[in-house]
Each structure stands twice: as structure tokens, then as C-alpha cells.
Subunit: 670 residues, 3 copies
């Protein structure tokens, strides 16, 4: 076992894919490897769903095919991102131990026949999985092609929450460790209400469906527990691997819109390198903005270290209601957004489009149509671009703005009983991020316990649940001269989901200089008008400014005449509060004002791009690299000088980036 | 045990709240009691969810805290509305007897962790609950502060329907008592259809989900059974209490929009005083009208005796999709609507806003923000208003109009297979009531078996299921000179949900003078035009007038040329029929015509108020009291003379009630 | 047992109904039979739900009432369509064998109390059912009134899919027979993906719910299995009957909009005559077109033999969200559409409207209102019309156009993961059929393995799954000179739901002369414009014409500049491809072009009717019969000569068919 944490090492930016050769014959393998080389692929994830192939019957192992494919890839100079193969259990295991199957909140089971059909707290599953991991690690742990270990797959994508008896027992164990005595649990969950006081640990279960609503403290702890259980599973696999291998270990996170099962802030330290899967979600109003946000969040999880984009898609996915194809150039822009925001690998799910199974309509590098396809040609071009950006690998993204993000706040915001079911945490985060994005600003997404000293502006959208010390850390930073924008519903509850009494905003209250008496959400379709002419929706608050300056008031709606936007001088700094959801352009105007006051600038000056221009600088030791991604229909003008690495042209001062184009300019460091 | 029914006694109109001191420390109790006195609170409901505090372990009772809080309240002159504490079972009981947990219609259980997680037919639950009630009643049954017993809480709010094996057995027992022999059951349920004939009682279960649709007769009886089971539970608790206490006993009904589990007509006689919980439902098109309806219905259940508003809200609730705050003055108007319509108590859920648990976002008298809040100030003002109306207590509401309401009709209307799922019983009732409300008329809501002799007009909207003798009683009253308006789908089925053949309308047919051949519901969005220029939706009928005079015909739609509104001279009276759902203003016009013909008048003459003016007279022995509640944005003029009790001003003849204001004028009785 | 297949014999076109006399007393029976005769009824289905009446307790049989009713009908000259009575099991059987109850995909049961509450694979159900069938067949198998056996009822309407342990076992048995060895199953289902490989048959279950998505190959086979299980049940009942009776045997199919459980192509050979139940579905955009389609499909299933309309409705049904009444004349038009398209019987569910049970609001020949009703009068008129068309019975429908329909394609199209959930198979079929209908063309709906030689034009809309030999048979027919229109998503997968790689369209690709690279579905509301000015929705494709001529391109959307409509000369024939969903009028224009090129004509020339005119010719030995059904609001002109059989008028050349009218012209054969 290595004493120091192994690091992922690669020459340049990795370009790769998931590969599931089990679906194909060896002749196809050879064609695949030839085409991979043609496309510039140099990192391939295999054995993700290997279990039923490696261990077709309990305890009978067959490693021939896996060894064969590893050798073939190795011979072609392609490095391996090796799955432990435990992502989905084979049918025989479920037959032997049906209690492995997850249980839904109504007490019904979910069955074999898809993927990830296992309870994270199942001892039988864990023990069988670790036996497989040991076999795999022992055989391939020091293979020269091994670049990285890939534990399981998209942990928690489907099975984050399990309500089975094994989960009940594990939840009780977790609670004993958290609370020590049952009185502390009762206090934390507020069980005095509705006659829910527990006397014995054995009286507690996972929060299965009730006839009414569930205890929100129990629900919140169940979310924490569920994240921890899968982390414990990850750790147990990693521990086995480490006995046999010095290669870095990770798993592919799912920082991608709606996936909310795991608190990745608590996972980061266990990863040797952070890896993420991201897919455009066309159910969102602006999937491209969410992509940038997810990339920035991944970088935040990674502590501003470079990270790996382990999966994204060439074109359409298969699991949304309507799965849109990507426009020409969109895959390239999407890939470069990830690289701009810190990715040192661009990988896809998957190499060759499946012709069977649940994901056969998911796009792939090599489509059903074969190489005679525009998408294949764009893949090859992207391989060249990625190759041309080799020296960017290892550099760090620069940012002056931090946006606070919290899974605990997400979970607490969306509890069963709440002021408005129209209020979603992620929507608020996206709205704030989208305004910053429209201004061309680069944002670090940080945890509530972040060190804010390197920033000029901190935005905390809807930070509903916040621990007192984290809130204090933020307001102390403001006091020392920082500028913060905090938005409605922030500071409502503490870590036990207990309301901070005395006026909403709790630990932010004094710094904000506002006394919030009452939440006043509004019905769907209601538009609120502000004294500034701005419009807003969703929410308002009945409040009064205590020490704050009122920047805007509501001129109609349930909070008429109350402040909508305030700013408060707090020590040497400035604390802004927004008590409604501004419409996009007004939100952008507000953030222009606030960021202007905080002295925040975009990476380079620009003109045009209609709020759809990404500008990010990665800084290395000798050079820095400005990424410009123009999603707009028209050219934009940027002011930056140096070698444009994709076109190979030297650019100077103001020059034009065409509609839809991606450019990367290498700047000499002063 | 007392031989005569105890009556609720109180000086003036009670003002109070639910109070859950278990959530707070004793220091908070003292502050609470001080502030209660400040606000004028004189009746407090406690121990509603006391079980897990009183009996933390099976058979171990701890009454110290409850005794303490009772003494503190008593010392402050606050009277007690004492809960039996059985509303939710503690976790240990469910652990010992998991069969207590309710079962949903698909056979899955619902679990501990919310509230009311018990099967109404569970012998284990009942036995444990009664043991607790005995302990409580024995200790506090003759306490001088005890004003009222509060059995359980909102019975049937969540657990009205249980499909577990205990419920199966209880249902069979109930059916045997109802039918005596299985042949009578088969006849009542029409089991000859679809091969459902039963030979043995043991073959029958509760109506769990089927692959098709369920037997509607079985469903209807299951609704009746479910109401009766909870009533039996109430009676069993009340019987225990009566052994130890002479105080009046009640439970808080839920006459509030969508709650349909219990047939409160059959519950009324068991209550020593009727109490109700009411919450504005913002999913309705006009929540304020529904509030007035619910208050009138509560008075109806109470047989025009004064009743108690046991819970309502200061501001937003927490269980609707979007929970709107109340506008300034709205809480006062809401409260006075209840008083105007017969309430002798104005109580809230709850005193101090919880900071934890499922209801922490439910408004309270003392909000999270504390006493520095507009809502607290309005609570204190309301306390004063209620105090100033003291002499109104005990007086009776006057009305010339009755509206017939029936839970059985509700249940039968909304069976699984029906002409139109867009047709809801409550919608029809609200539509008719809303038209009467817009005319400023006071309405008694009565049961189908009511004595109509004191009324000038009876409205029966959508009285789908009706027993023959009740229908006859109504038509006989018309024959004797009354005026009735009956609307579509009325008189369709008898008490067994059996269609009255020979033309719809069944027992009303002859009095209406209409032959209805066929229902013709219309698609969502379809607007029907009538020959009078009126517009209508939802429904039409293919019918012919036999003896009736046609007041309006359909000029389009599936019943083109058929009568839409008819009136029929029946004996000395007049029977109107409306075969569609008129739009609100046209419905109001129709009721203006019908009520005008019936000689019905509003409590006092008025002008303005745009259909949003409530006018109700309560009559006492020495005086009568006219309540005027102006929900409109403009002042209204009313014609009434006497002392206005809230402002303390003498008014005479025509005077103005400002927008949003509440006024109560004491009139001298002639 | 008879060696030759018995045929259904009847004088003229049968006119009849379901009759459930169990609901009524014998006096009512006599009235019923009198009124049946008045209406012209000559075929009555009884004993459909007879089980609980015939066998009230296990093994105790009571046949008196059934024998009585048969005699009464027989005496009145009415023939019997005798149910086996097994459609719904009595409660006692379910009590003895609760495992008979179906299981839903989440593992919960569905219960007694509706109808069809039985697992198709239950040995206990089958054995009890066959015992009843034997008793019935033995008693009535040679009764002179017996016209037809009616096995069970609407098989699979509610219970097509069962996931219980008995179904698991039966599914495994079925799979063993299909695949022989487990490797073949793994290959067919693509279990290599997601670690789903099976080693033992015992590891396989029915596809119950998973946390993710299910294996589509398993789902597809489960649909096939489920259809086969009910067919096996049918066969087992038929086999028992055949031991005792020479009368023809059938069951009522459900070729009616959304019902997709059974692959009736595989059922046809087991029926002595094809019978169908059809109901207008007002959730569809054009229910009348669907009716015509269903009738043509029924004729297709019947191999162009005359078939029986076993159930349809006089007016509203009771199971849709809003159940619309029929307009005056609509029932007659609906009935004649069936006759025009090959029905030799017009029967209704049901005779007398039930006054109890789940179907009491379903219309009937004798409505609740009794004989004083317009609908009853129209029933009697229809009886006369049917009588006047007696000689049409036994004749065959003529058509030059075939539309390919496939349940397997339906099932595969609507799997859980797919390019667009907005894409429904039936919608595509209806869109193509609707365009042909608008042109007044008669269409044969045929199976993918049909013999196309008798047609001039074949349309294959969305034939997603297709077997190679069937695709080849179609393209070979084109090569030989035929004209085909194939639409998008056709030819995507083979019989194992395996994508045909190399460009979508698979086995149609070469004949179409198009290379389809990528699917590009569009969001709801997106309108695509074509170079011809046509508009389209739902779908587009990125493709290039290889040998095809481009008839239209997309001028916007994700496939801008790609071909939208192509035609390809293939041998002596012409293969058209449509890669989007044209709006109705543009689709009609395209089919006008294609059918014009193919030399297809309507049954007779016409003018007017606005696309709502049905024109169908049935050809007999001595005469042919042209049916003209005018659904439009205006008269239409048709060119046909002969005796109009309903009005009894001789018509010649161009004459007018009034709005809403039905006409049948007897032509002399040359």
C-alpha cells in the first residue's frame, strides 16, 4: 500500500471513452482499436460492467477475455481506466441473496434486469463485490497499461436511497455513531412534535412512506447516511485495490443537473483524482449554462486541481423524454467548455454504439451508421484539437468570484412540506450562475466552509441550510472587506433543519441589515414588479431594512412596499440581499452592479456574444491560456494576444471569434 | 357518568390556539403564557400529540410536565381544551404491533414517522389508546381549568381508508350488521354483474386495487364503514372520559375543502359541541367563498347551535403546493366570517411556530420572527375585536335559504367509472353556494333529511345519490309552496348507488316536469351557449320538458335545442332544474331570479361590494348582530342601524363599510 | 371433434348485443325479449360473466336460469352467442387460491372486486375454468339456438401482463422452448451489456420494475410470451368445447385504439370466425378515422373473410375521462363503417343499461330512460337498415392499398429508453391511415409477412422492428414493380430488437437509396418547414440520398438541408421514404402524389365530403355494394349507379349524399 496519494499521470489532455467489448467479437475489437487510434483515443475505460463475464458462476472466474482486450489496447498504446466491474451484480448473486435488491419507499422491491440493482448497505453484496475486486486487482494491479482505477460506476445514480431492512439496520448504526445517545437524536429531529420521540435505537427505521409527511430531520439524516453508505462502499473497494496496486483510484461522479444523491464535498478527499460524468439536460431552460456550472462545480470539488471528464456524449442521450441530437460543432464546444474549466481529460460514453440493451439509442463516438457520418468526423477533429492543447494539461483556472453550493441545502430545501414546491434549490443556483455566465465571469463553485480570501465576490443563492460557523465565516469575510450577494431562503435552518428564530436569514441577518418577518411565495404565473422596473417571480418576503440601504422595493404582490434588493455596509465590506427571483436580464443587471462594485472583471475584455460567450483563463507556469467559446449566432470581439492554438494563428488585441467557434490563445506570462 | 349532555360553557367568544409545549423549555412556557395573555388568549388546546411524552415506554406513565403546564395556564386564567393525546402512536407501540400501520389500496403499508399512522380498526391500537385516555382522564377529569375534552385530532385526515387484514375483518362485521344476509348484500352491490356474487361473508375484503374498476356499491359501503370505524373510535375514547369527567367532549372536524373521509352528519349527535378546523385552500378558484361555505356547513352540522373554530391559520399553511401568506386584514376577515356564521370560538393552529418537524413552515400566532411582526400585531388586534364581541356568543344565525349537502352523494359522484371525471361534487356545491354568496344571501347548509319548513328556498346542487324518502320530503315541501333549484346529475342513484330508471332525476322527475334521456358531458374547454345569452360548461343533457316551462335552451353542443333551465309549477310551489354548469355571473343571475321569486332577501340591504360582501345576522334574546365583511377593493354601502361594536360608533341607515373592513352592528330587537 | 373448421352461419347480417339477464328478474326477461324482437335483434351473447351464477360454490353447479333464458330466446327466434362464463372468477375461487390474483410490475397484487382478476399462467385458474367450460359445453353444445361459442371475454384487456411467480415459471418455460439454450437467449437479449448474462434458466424472471430501465429484449419477449399465454388459455377452452360441440368458436378481440396486449396476427388461425369489440376513443384527435382503421385491421386479421362486430356502443362509454354521447346518426354511421369494411354482424354492449356495477353509465340499446328516448328509436331504425342489407353478408371488400401493421413493432417502438417518448407507434399508423382516409381510399391492413401481389401501393409507417425476410419480401415486391412508402424509424431493429447497423433503415436501406446517419427528434411544439412549403413535427433525420431523388428537404431544424422526402427507383418499382411526421394536409398531399403515381383510385369517383367521406366496395358473386358514409357537414357527390338499398331509390351517375347520411348502392356485376 502506498504511503503517498498516487496522482493521475498522463501526457497532455487525455482523449477517450468507455468501451464495452463484451458486446462484440474479437474481430470487431481489432477494428475498434484501429479506429480509436485514428480518432486519437489514448485512454479507455473497460470492465465497468464486467462482473457477469468475469464471474459467470459464484466463485468461478474467467479472466481470459479481459486480459486479451487489455493486451490489445496496450499494444496500440492506449492506456486503461480499469473498472472494478462491480457496477451491477450478476443474476446468480441476486438469486442467492434476493435481499440485495433495493427497496423503494413504499416497501416494494426493485428487481434484477436493469443496472445497479443493489442495496448500498447489503453485506452480501459488499462481500461478493470485494471478492471480485480482489481478483481483478491482483491480476491487473501492476499492468503497465493501467492508468487509473475506476471503482464501480456512477454510484448512487439509481440506488442512492434504499429502504430495506439491511438499510434500516445500517441507518441505526450510523445514527448511533452520529448522536451517541437517543436524546441527542430526538433533539436534532424535533421528535417532540407529532409524538415521535424514540426511546430505543431499535425503534428507528429508514423513512419509508407515511400517510402524512415524514420527519424532515430524519429525511435529512437519511440523505447524509445514504451518501455515506456509498462512500463506505467506495472506500472498501479502494482499500482492496490499494493492497495490490499503486495506480490512482477514482470513481465517476455525476455532477449533472438532477442527480442529488451524494454530497460530493465529503467524497473528494477519498479520490486520487476527481472524475465526472456530464450530460446536457434538455429539460432545463439552458442546458449549456448548466454544463458550465457543472464543470465549475467539478473543479470546486477537486479543489481547483485538474480533473477528468470521464463521460459525456457525442450527441443525443437515450434517457430523457425527448433526446435531442447535437448541432454541428456543439460537441466540440461542450468538450472545450470542460477543458476550459479545468478538465484534463475528454472522454465519452461510449466508444461504439450498442445495438442491443437499454442504451442502444445513446450516441457514441462510432455511431450505428459507422464512419460515414458527420459525427464521426467531428470526433476525429476533436481528437486533433485535444491533441493540440496538450500543454494546457496541469494548468489552473483563474476566478475572482465564488458561488456557494451545498447538497445539504439542496436536500433541506426540497423537503416534503415547504413554503413552495415551485422553489427548487438547483433552479436558484442556476439562476445566479446564469447571470454571472451572461456577464462572461468565471466562477468558482465552493463549499459553504470554503476559504473566501482569494475572491472579490461571493454569491450564496438560496443557501437554505447553513451551519453557524460557515455563515459566520462568510459574514466575517464580508466584514473584512468582501462583497457578498445572498438570496432569499438562505440562512433559514441550521444543520438539523431547525429554523433560526428571530427573523429569517438567521446567522446572515445582522450582516444583511434586514428583518424578514414572513415568506410570501407567489402562485405560478404571477409576475412581481420592482421599483426599479425589474420583474421577478416565485417568491417575495415581508421584511424591513434595519441597517441596510433599500435598492429596490416590490411595487405589487404580497410584499408590496417591502424591500426586494438591499445592500448593507458591514465592516469594510458590503452585504447584498435579494428577496425574490429576478428575471434573467434583471438578475444579470443586478450582478453587473454588484460585481462592478466588487471590482470583478471577465478573463479578457470582450464585445458581443449576447451573453453566450465563455471566457476562461487557465494559468500554467510559463504561459496562460484563454479559452473563448462562442455559443452565439454572431461573431464576438475579444481583446487578447498570443498564439491561437487551434487555428495556429497569432492574434493581437481586438480580434473576432466567429459564431459557434472555439479558440484558445496562449499568452506569455509577464 | 352524567345523565345529561354537558355543554361547552365560556364567557364570551373564546380566543385560543393549539399549544405544543413539549417542543419548548419551561422558560419558553412562561414567556408563552405572558404573550398569550397579552394577545387575549383564553382557551388553549394541549396534549394533542402527547402520547410519546406521557407514556414513553409501554405502561410507564409520566404526567409531571403535563400537570405543570396545566397549572401554569390555569394560574394565568387560561382554560384548557385537553387532548386525549392519542392522535399519533409512539414508535414503541408500532414496533410491538406493526399490524397497526395502515395499508394502502395496493396492499403496501404506510409507516411510522409522520402522524396518524394507525388503522382505525386495529384492536391493538384501540386498546393501547384507551389505556392512555383512562390515565389522562383519571388525572385531569375534574381539573378546574378543564373547559373541554379534545379526542384525538383531525380524525381521518390521513388514515380514513385502511385496507389491512384488520380492516377486512371489521368491514365484514360491519356488513353483516348492515345486511343481515349475504343475499341482501349481493342485491345492494349489484354483484350479479361481472360474476361478483358472494356466497359467504368470509369471501369479502376491503376494496383493494383491481386490474379494472372496483364495485361501486362496495366502494360506497367502504366509505360508510370507514366513517363509522373512526366514529366508533371516537365513541370508545369518549366513553372512557365520561367515566371520569363531566366536562364536554368533542373532536375537531375537518370541514375544509378536499377532506371527504367522514360523514359528519352521522357524527354530530355524539359531540357535546361541534368543533371544526378550517384552512384556506389556494388550489380553489375562490378560497374565501369556500371558507364561508365551510362555516355554514359546520353550523349545519351543529344544528344551528354555536360551534367552535378549533383551528385555522394566521397566515400560510405548509401543505399546499404553494402556500400563500395572508394579506393584511385577511386573517381578521377570515376569523370574523367564522364568528358571523356561528362560531363562538376563534382558535388557531398553533401558538408558537415550530422550528422543527413537518409543520415548521405553518404560520402561527407567534411567528418565527417573534413579536416584531405585523402578523403578531394583527393577532393582538383580533384578540381585542373578539373580546369586544363577547355578547354575540350564544346567538343564532338567521337564514331563509337552505343548500342540501351530502357526503354519500359526494362519494357516489366520484366513483371510478362515471360520465365525466371533470365533474366533482364539491365543485358543483361551491358553484351554487358561490352564486348565493355573490348575492349577499345567508345560507344554511343542511342534510338531505332536513326539515325545510323554515326556508323560502332550497338549493340541491348535484345531489347525485338520494334516498327516496329524502327526495320525497323535498318535493313535498315544494308542493306545499316552497321553491327549489335542483341541478344536473341529482337524483341519479339511490342509497345503494342504483340508477333510478325511467329517466334521470329519479324521485325528483315528476316535480321537475322534465324527462332526461341522456347525459351529455362536454370536453374541457367547450363553452355551451344558452338561448338567454348565458354560457355554461362541463355538462348538458338531452331532455324534454314534460310539464315544465323552458326558461333557457342550449343553442349549441350535444344537447342543442334541449332545455337547459326549466321551472315547473308543482302544487303550490315551484321546482327549477338546471341541466348544466352556468358560468359564475350567469349562475348568479339565475339565483337572483329564483331567490327573488321565492321572496328571499339578504340580511340587510346593500349596494356595492361587487359580490364580495358578506352580510350575516346573528340573533340573540335582546339584540341581533349584523356582521358585514367587505372583501372588495372598494367601500360598500349597507342599510342597518345600531352600535358598530368594533369601532364603537353608532351608525344609522345607509353608511359605508370601507374596503377590506369588518363591522358588527348591534341592532335592538323590536 | 370436427375435422373441418366450423364456420359461422347466419342469415344476413346479424344484429345483436351482449345480454346479462342475471341482473334482472324473469319478468324483465320477457319484456327484454319482446323489445329485442321489436328492434330486430337476432343474435345475443349471454353467460359472459356467468361463473358465479353457474357455480356459486366450488363444484356445485346451477344451470337452471341459463337454460331458461336460452329457451326463452330460442322461442323468440333469437340465436345464442354462448359465453363460456370464465371471464371473471368467483370470489370463492380467489379465496381458495389467492395466487390466482395478478401481480403488478412492482410486485404488488391486484385484487378481487373488478373483473378479469386472474393470472393468465395460473394453473389453478385454468383448471377451475376448464371444469366450468366442460359443464357448459356438455349441456348446451348441441342446442339448436347455439350460433357461436364466445370464449371468456376481451382476453387481456386488463390482465395481459402478470409478474407473479407463476408467470415467472411460465415465462422460463416459454423461453426454453424459444431459445433451446441459454446462450441463444443471452445473444438475443444482448445481456452482455450491463452485466446481465444468465447462466441458468432459473435465474430469469418476468421483467419486474428495476431502479433503472429494463432489458428491452426481455421486455419484448415478455410481450410475446404474454400474448401466447392468453392464446394458450383460449386454446384450452376451445379444446374442451370442441369435444362437445360442432358450433364455431371465437373470442372477442379488442382492436380498439390503446389496447396493445395481444399480437392478434398469431391468434387468427385459432378462431373459427374473427370477432371484435370496438369503442370510439375521444382521447384521440380523430376517433372516427381510428374506427375505420380498426375495422380494416379486423378484416386484415380475418384474411379478408367477413367478421363480426361483437361489441360497440350506442352512445357514451364509461371508462374514458370524459365520456361523450353520440350525435344523432353517429351510431348508424359507426355501425355501417364496420359493415362497409367487412363486418357481417353489428352487435352492442349491452342490451339493457345496467343500473348497478362498474358499467352502469355505459350506454346500451335500451337506455335507463326506456323506450321513450331518441337513442332507442335510432337503434330500431338501425335494425331495419341492417335487415335491408341482408344480401351484403358474405361479400368481400376491395382494396388496392395495403398498410403494414405489427404488434412487435408497436412493442419495440415504445420501450423504456428511446429517442423520443413523444413518438408513439399507433400515432404514426393513424397519421398514415388518416391521410389515405382523407383521399377516400380503401386500405387493407396487413401483417409484415403479407403477400403484397394484389396491391398497387404499400405503406409501412414506423415499422420499427422488422424481420429480414419480411423486409426483403416488401422490397422484392417493389423491385418487381410495386410502389411503397416507408416512414421514419422503420427498419431500425430486427426481431430481437437489435439495431441494424450501417445506417438506419436496415434492410430497407438499399431499396430506399438513403443513408440515415442520425435520428433528430424535435421538442414538443417545434414545427419543421420543408422546401416544398409543407410543415412537419416530432422527428427529423440527418441523412443523405445515395441513389434516391430528393423530393423535399428540411429548411430548418436539426436536420436542415437533409432530405425529408425521397423517392427511389428500385427495379421496376418505386420506394418512397418520409423521414418526418408531416402535418395532416401535407401528409394527404404526399399520399395523393404517391397513390396517383401508383395508379390507385377510390372505390368510386366523388366530389366534396372534405376528407370525411368513406367509400368502400364489397363485392359478391352477383353484385357489388358501394358503401358511402358522409361524416361531413355538407352533401357530397358520388358517381355510382344502382339501387340504393337504404332509401330504396335507383341512383345513377353523379348524385348527392346528404350531410351525415349513409348510403349503400347495389351495382350489377359486369
Amino acid at each position: 500500500m502506498s504511503a503517498v496519494q498516487p496522482r493521475f499521470q498522463h501526457t497532455g489532455i487525455a482523449f477517450g471513452c468507455d468501451y464495452n467489448p463484451e458486446q462484440w467479437s474479437p474481430e470487431v475489437w481489432d477494428e475498434d482499436i484501429r479506429l480509436m487510434s485514428e480518432a486519437g483515443v489514448d485512454l479507455v475505460a473497460i470492465n465497468i460492467f464486467g462482473w457477469s463475464h468475469l464471474e459467470p458462476r459464484a466463485g468461478e472466474f474467467e479472466f481470459g477475455a479481459l486480459a486479451d482486450i487489455i493486451e490489445r489496447l496496450h499494444r496500440a498504446g492506449i492506456r486503461i481506466n480499469l473498472g472494478t466491474g462491480t457496477a451491477s451484480a450478476p443474476a446468480w448473486l441476486v438469486r442467492r441473496h434476493p435481499e440485495i435488491l433495493p427497496m423503494a419507499e413504499d416497501g416494494t422491491r426493485r428487481y434484477q434486469g436493469g443496472r445497479q440493482a443493489w442495496c448500498p448497505s447489503s453485506p452480501e453484496f459488499r462481500s461478493a463485490a470485494l471478492r471480485l475486486v480482489r481478483e481483478v486487482a491482483e491480476r491487473f494491479g501492476d499492468h503497465p497499461a493501467l492508468a487509473l482505477w475506476h471503482v464501480s460506476n456512477e454510484l448512487g445514480c439509481h440506488n442512492a436511497l434504499c429502504f430495506c431492512p439491511n438499510s434500516d439496520a445500517a441507518f441505526r448504526y450510523w445514527l448511533r455513531r452520529r448522536y451517541g445517545n437517543i436524546g441527542a437524536l430526538n433533539a436534532a429531529w424535533g421528535t417532540a412534535f407529532w409524538s415521535q420521540t424514540y426511546q430505543e435505537w431499535s425503534e428507528i427505521d429508514t423513512p419509508r412512506l407515511t400517510v402524512s409527511t415524514r420527519n424532515p430531520g430524519q429525511m435529512l439524516d437519511f440523505r447524509r447516511f445514504s451518501s455515506d453508505e456509498l462512500l463506505a462502499h467506495y472506500r472498501s473497494e479502494a482499500e482492496v485495490i490499494r493492497s495490490y496496486s499503486d495506480a490512482p483510484i477514482t470513481t465517476n461522479f455525476m455532477l449533472t443537473s438532477h442527480i442529488d444523491g451524494l454530497d460530493y464535498w465529503s467524497w473528494a478527499d477519498d479520490m486520487d483524482v476527481i472524475a465526472n460524468d456530464h450530460y446536457l439536460d434538455h429539460r432545463l431552460s439552458d442546458p449549456t449554462v448548466e454544463l458550465a456550472f457543472a464543470a465549475d462545480l467539478t473543479r470546486g470539488i477537486s479543489g481547483n486541481e485538474p480533473w477528468l471528464l470521464m463521460e459525456h456524449s457525442v450527441g443525443a442521450v437515450n434517457w430523457q423524454p425527448i433526446n435531442l441530437a447535437k448541432a454541428a460543432g456543439q460537441m466540440t464546444r461542450n468538450s472545450l467548455t470542460h477543458v476550459a474549466r479545468g478538465a484534463d481529460a475528454v472522454c465519452f460514453f461510449q466508444w461504439r454504439a450498442s445495438v442491443q440493451g437499454s442504451e442502444k439509442y445513446h450516441s457514441a463516438m462510432l455511431p450505428h451508421a459507422g464512419t460515414n457520418a458527420a459525427s464521426w468526423r467531428e470526433v476525429c477533429e476533436l481528437g486533433e484539437i485535444v491533441g493540440s492543447l496538450s500543454e494546457v494539461a496541469g494548468t489552473r483556472v483563474e476566478s475572482e468570484v465564488a458561488l456557494v453550493f451545498s447538497w445539504e441545502a439542496w436536500w433541506a430545501t426540497e423537503e416534503e412540506s415547504r413554503p413552495s414546491h415551485a422553489l427548487g434549490y438547483l433552479d436558484q443556483v442556476h439562476a445566479a450562475y446564469g447571470a454571472l455566465y451572461a456577464l462572461g465571469l468565471t466562477v468558482d463553485v465552493v463549499a459553504p466552509d470554503a476559504d473566501f480570501t482569494r475572491y472579490k465576490l461571493v454569491v450564496a443563492p438560496g443557501l437554505h441550510l447553513v451551519r453557524e460557523q460557515h455563515a459566520r465565516s462568510l459574514t466575517d469575510w464580508v466584514f473584512a472587506g468582501g462583497t457578498a450577494l445572498i438570496t432569499f431562503y438562505s440562512g433559514t435552518v441550521d444543520e438539523d433543519d431547525r429554523v433560526w428564530a428571530g427573523g429569517y436569514g438567521g446567522p446572515f441577518r445582522e450582516a444583511l441589515g434586514v428583518h424578514v418577518e414572513e415568506f410570501a411565495p407567489v402562485a405560478a404565473g404571477t409576475v412581481l414588479r420592482l421599483s426599479t422596473g425589474a420583474t421577478a417571480r416565485l417568491w417575495s418576503e415581508r421584511s424591513t431594512a434595519t441597517t441596510a440601504r433599500v435598492e429596490a422595493t416590490f411595487i405589487d404582490g404580497p410584499a408590496r412596499d417591502a424591500p426586494a434588493i438591499t445592500s448593507n455596509a458591514w465592516g469594510a465590506g458590503q452585504a447584498w440581499y435579494l428577496s425574490t427571483l429576478l428575471d434573467h436580464s434583471d438578475y444579470t443587471d443586478l450582478l453587473a452592479t454588484v460585481s462592478g462594485a466588487a471590482g470583478v472583471h471577465s478573463a479578457v475584455p470582450f464585445r458581443g456574444g449576447e451573453g453566450q460567450l465563455e471566457l476562461v483563463r487557465r494559468r500554467g507556469e510559463a504561459h496562460s491560456y484563454v479559452f473563448i467559446i462562442n455559443h452565439a449566432d454572431a461573431a464576438a470581439t475579444v481583446e487578447v494576444s498570443g498564439l491561437e492554438m487551434i487555428t495556429g494563428v497569432n492574434v493581437q488585441n481586438q480580434w473576432q471569434v466567429p459564431a459557434g467557434a472555439v479558440r484558445v490563445v496562449r499568452e506569455a506570462l509577464a
